[in-house]
C-alpha cells in the first residue's frame, strides 16, 4: 500500500510538472467478450481447483478482459504509464491496477547507443505474445502456459535499465539490447505454479490481488503446510532482499529477434509472514520470433527454472523444477485482398513440473502438452472476431487428492469479440 501511495504522489506531482512542459496523453485499451464451452474440471485453478483454464467445466459468457492503459508523455523522453484491467465471469470478478510505472527513453547518442529505463510496477520483459494494449495477447485468446504464468505470478516493483545499440548507426544490420532490473515484491512467486501447475488463460493477477490454492493433504491439520495461507499473495516483499532480472536481445529488423534472460527473486525460502512464504524462484527464458516469409511468423519461447520453499527449520517443503516451451506459427492471409483480414495461429506446447522434495500429501509432479488453434477475422479497423480451440492433455497426480482423474484431457472452444481503442 505504501508503494501505491508513493506512486500516486509521484503521479500527482507529475501532473503539476505537466503544467510547465507540454505533454501528450494517450488512452488505449481492449474489451474482450467471450462465449466459451469448456470441458474441464468442475473447479478452475482461478477458483482454487485443478482445472487448467480460468473457467470451469460448462458454458460461459465472460468479459475475458476489459483493459485500459493511460500514458502521459513529455517531450523530454519521460512518460508515465498506468494499466488497469478488469475481468468478469461467473466465478471471477476483479478490477484493478496491473502496471504503473515511469519510463524514460533517451535519444541515441552519436555512437548509436540508447538508454531506456523504467521505474515502478511492471512486467519483466519475457512474453513475446502479450504485446497488445493492456498486456493482451495479440494472436491468440489464451496466452501460452509460460505467459499465463508470467501474468499470474511474475510482476515486480523495481527499476529496469536498458541499453540498446542501434545497428543502423554502427554499420551493422542488427540491434543489440541489454537490460538489468533490480526489484522487490515478488517473493511468493512459484507457489501457484507448484500447487495448481501450468495453466492457460488471459487472466492477469492484479497488483495486491490474492489467488486461492487448491486443497491438498499437506495443508490439513498437522500437515507440513498447515501454516500456509489459503490464498497466495504473489506480489509481496517478505525478506527485504532485492531480486534481479537480466535480458539480452538480438534483433534483425525486418526478420526477427532472439532473446535470453534470467530471473531470480532471491527470496529467503524459510521466511514466512502471515502465512505467505518466501519462494526462492529462479528461471532462465529463451525466446525467438522469425518472419519465415511474408505473413508467416514463427514465435517460440522456452522457460526452465527451479523454486524452493522451506520450513522455518530450513527443511525443504517444496523443491520443484519446472519447464515449459511453445512453438507457434501465425499466418496473415494475404493472397487475395479479402484474405488480408484473416489470420490463423497454431501453437504447440509442452510443460512439466518435477517434485524433488519428500513432503507428504504434496505431490507437485506434472507433465503434459497443449495445442491451440486460433482464427481471427478483422471485422472493422478496431473490431476483431476470433474463434479458438484449446486442448490440454496432462498427467497430474495431485488431482487424486480431490478424487479427480490423474490423467485428464481438457478442451475449450471460445468465440470472442475483441475491440481495441
Amino acid at each position: 500500500m505504501k508503494h501505491v501511495i508513493g506512486i500516486l504522489i509521484t503521479a500527482v506531482s507529475l501532473f503539476y510538472v505537466n503544467a510547465l512542459y507540454s505533454a501528450e496523453y494517450a488512452l488505449h485499451g481492449i474489451v474482450d467478450i467471450r462465449a466459451s464451452r469448456v470441458d474441464s474440471a468442475n473447479q478452475s485453478y482461478l477458483d482454487g481447483g485443478q482445472g487448467k483454464f480460468a473457467l470451469a467445466d460448462g458454458q460461459h459468457l465472460a468479459v475475458a478482459q476489459a483493459g485500459a492503459q493511460l500514458a502521459v508523455e513529455w517531450d523530454n523522453g519521460l512518460s508515465a504509464h498506468g494499466v488497469i484491467n478488469g475481468f468478469y465471469s461467473a466465478d471471477d470478478n476483479a478490477l484493478g491496477f496491473t502496471e504503473a510505472y515511469l519510463k524514460y527513453r533517451g535519444l541515441p547518442n552519436s555512437a548509436g547507443y540508447r538508454v531506456q529505463s523504467r521505474l515502478g510496477i511492471f512486467y519483466p520483459e519475457i512474453s513475446l505474445e502479450n504485446n497488445a494494449y493492456a498486456w493482451a495477447s495479440k494472436d491468440t485468446l489464451n496466452s501460452s502456459m509460460i505467459n499465463s504464468w508470467i501474468g499470474e505470478e511474475i510482476r515486480v516493483l523495481g527499476s529496469e535499465f536498458k541499453v540498446t545499440r542501434l545497428g543502423r548507426m554502427n554499420n551493422d544490420a542488427f540491434d543489440l539490447s541489454l537490460s538489468a532490473s533490480a526489484f522487490v515484491n515478488n517473493d511468493p512467486a512459484g507457489a501457484l505454479l507448484a500447487w495448481h501447475g501450468w495453466t492457460s488463460s488471459s487472466r492477469q493477477t492484479l497488483w495486491t490481488e490474492k489467488q486461492p490454492l487448491p486443497w491438498f493433504p499437506a495443508r490439513g491439520a498437522g500437515g507440513a503446510l498447515e501454516g500456509q495461507a489459503a490464498q497466495s499473495d504473489p506480489f509481496l516483499e517478505i525478506d527485504h532482499k532485492v531480486g534481479y532480472h537480466l535480458r539480452a536481445e538480438w534483433l534483425l529488423p525486418g526478420k526477427g529477434e532472439v532473446s535470453f534472460g534470467y530471473y531470480n527473486n532471491r527470496a529467503t525460502p524459510y521466511k514466512v509472514v502471515n502465512g505467505q512464504y518466501g519462494w526462492q524462484t529462479q528461471f532462465y527464458h529463451l525466446a525467438a520470433k522469425w518472419r519465415l516469409m511474408k505473413g508467416l511468423t514463427l514465435t517460440a519461447q522456452y522457460l526452465n527454472g527451479n523454486t524452493l520453499m522451506q520450513s522455518e527449520l530450513k527443511q525443504d517443503i517444496v523443491n520443484n523444477d519446472y519447464a515449459s516451451g511453445f512453438v507457434s506459427l501465425s499466418y496473415q492471409w494475404q493472397a487475395k485482398r479479402w484474405q488480408k483480414k484473416h489470420s490463423t495461429t497454431l501453437r504447440l506446447e509442452d510443460f512439466s513440473v518435477t517434485d524433488n522434495d519428500n513432503t507428504l500429501g504434496d505431490n507437485n509432479n506434472e507433465d503434459g502438452h497443449a495445442v491451440t488453434l486460433n482464427h481471427s477475422y478483422r471485422l472493422a479497423k478496431q473490431w476483431f472476431f476470433s474463434a479458438e480451440v484449446n486442448y490440454i492433455d496432462s498427467h497430474r497426480p495431485a488431482r487424486d487428492y480431490t478424487h479427480q482423474s490423474i490423467d485428464l484431457v481438457e478442451k475449450k472452444l471460445q468465440l470472442a469479440v475483441r475491440y481495441f481503442y
Partner: protein, 233 residues
C-alpha cells in the same frame, strides 16, 4: 540468324541513340526554359552498367562562381511510419519542413551530425521553418519507430538533383567555370559514399559515372509487426 541478331543489335543501338538524343534535348530544353547558359547532363550507372535512379548528384563551384540561392521549401514527410522521401537534399539556410501525415506522434532526431536536432511531431502536424546552417549529411531516425530511416544532405550549392528512372540528372548552369561533380548515396560502397570528378564547364556537356561495387540494400522502412494495437513503442 545472323541477320536477325544483327538487326536486333542495330535496333537496340538505334534506340539507345534515340534515348540519348532525347535526353540531351531535354537537358538543352531545361537550360533554355530556365534561360541558363548551358546544360550539364550527369548519368549514373551501376557496376553492371544498369541505369541507377534516385542517386543524388550535385555540382560545387570551384572557381568562386557566384550562384543563386535556392529559395524553395523542402518538405520531408513522415508517412506510413517512414521518411518520404528516403533521401532529401537542401541548400544550407533553405527552409525545411517536417510534415507528419500519420495519425500518431513521431520523435525525429539526427544521428551524430554537426546539425543536431530532435523534436516530437504530433499527428497531422508540420514542424516548419527549420534552417540548417552547416553543410553535411544528417542520418535521421524516429525514437519511437526504430525502423524509420532517412537522410538529409545539406549542401552549399543550389545545383542538386536525383537521377531519374533512366539514370540521368540534368543541370541548367548559369556560370562557366570549374565544378566538382559529386554522386552521393548512403548505400554506395565508396569512400564517403561518393564518387567525385572535376569538370570545366563552358558549354553543354555530359559526364557519366559507373560505380565500382554493387549498391548495398536500402533499409526497408517497415515495422516487424504491423498489428495496429501494440502496447510498446
Amino acid at each position: 540468324m545472323d541477320i536477325f541478331l544483327n538487326s536486333k543489335t542495330f535496333i537496340l543501338a538505334l534506340s539507345l541513340l534515340f534515348t540519348a538524343l532525347a535526353q540531351a534535348s531535354t537537358c538543352n530544353k531545361v537550360a533554355a526554359e530556365k534561360k541558363q547558359l548551358m546544360c550539364l547532363q550527369v548519368s549514373v550507372h551501376s557496376h553492371t552498367d544498369k541505369a541507377l535512379s534516385g542517386m543524388v548528384v550535385y555540382l560545387e563551384p570551384l572557381d568562386g562562381q557566384v550562384l543563386t540561392k535556392n529559395t524553395n521549401t523542402l518538405t520531408i514527410a513522415q508517412h506510413n511510419k517512414s521518411f518520404e522521401p528516403y533521401l532529401s537534399v537542401s541548400q544550407i539556410n533553405q527552409q525545411v519542413n517536417f510534415e507528419n501525415q500519420d495519425d500518431i506522434t513521431h520523435h525525429i532526431y539526427s544521428a551524430g551530425s554537426d546539425n543536431k536536432f530532435s523534436f516530437k511531431i504530433r499527428a497531422g502536424k508540420t514542424s516548419a521553418n527549420l534552417l540548417f546552417e552547416k553543410p553535411g549529411e544528417i542520418a535521421m531516425g524516429c525514437n519511437i519507430h526504430d525502423w524509420m530511416s532517412g537522410y538529409l544532405l545539406l549542401l552549399n550549392t543550389p545545383y542538386f538533383a536525383k537521377t531519374n528512372a533512366q539514370g540521368f540528372a540534368d543541370f541548367a548552369v548559369s556560370e562557366q567555370g570549374s565544378y566538382r561533380v559529386v554522386v552521393w548515396h548512403p548505400q554506395m560502397q565508396a569512400a564517403n559514399n561518393r564518387m567525385v570528378l572535376t569538370k570545366q564547364l563552358t558549354s553543354n556537356d555530359k559526364v557519366s559515372f559507373t560505380l565500382d561495387k554493387a549498391m548495398q540494400a536500402i533499409p526497408k522502412q517497415e515495422s516487424d509487426d504491423d498489428f495496429d494495437f501494440l502496447s510498446d513503442y
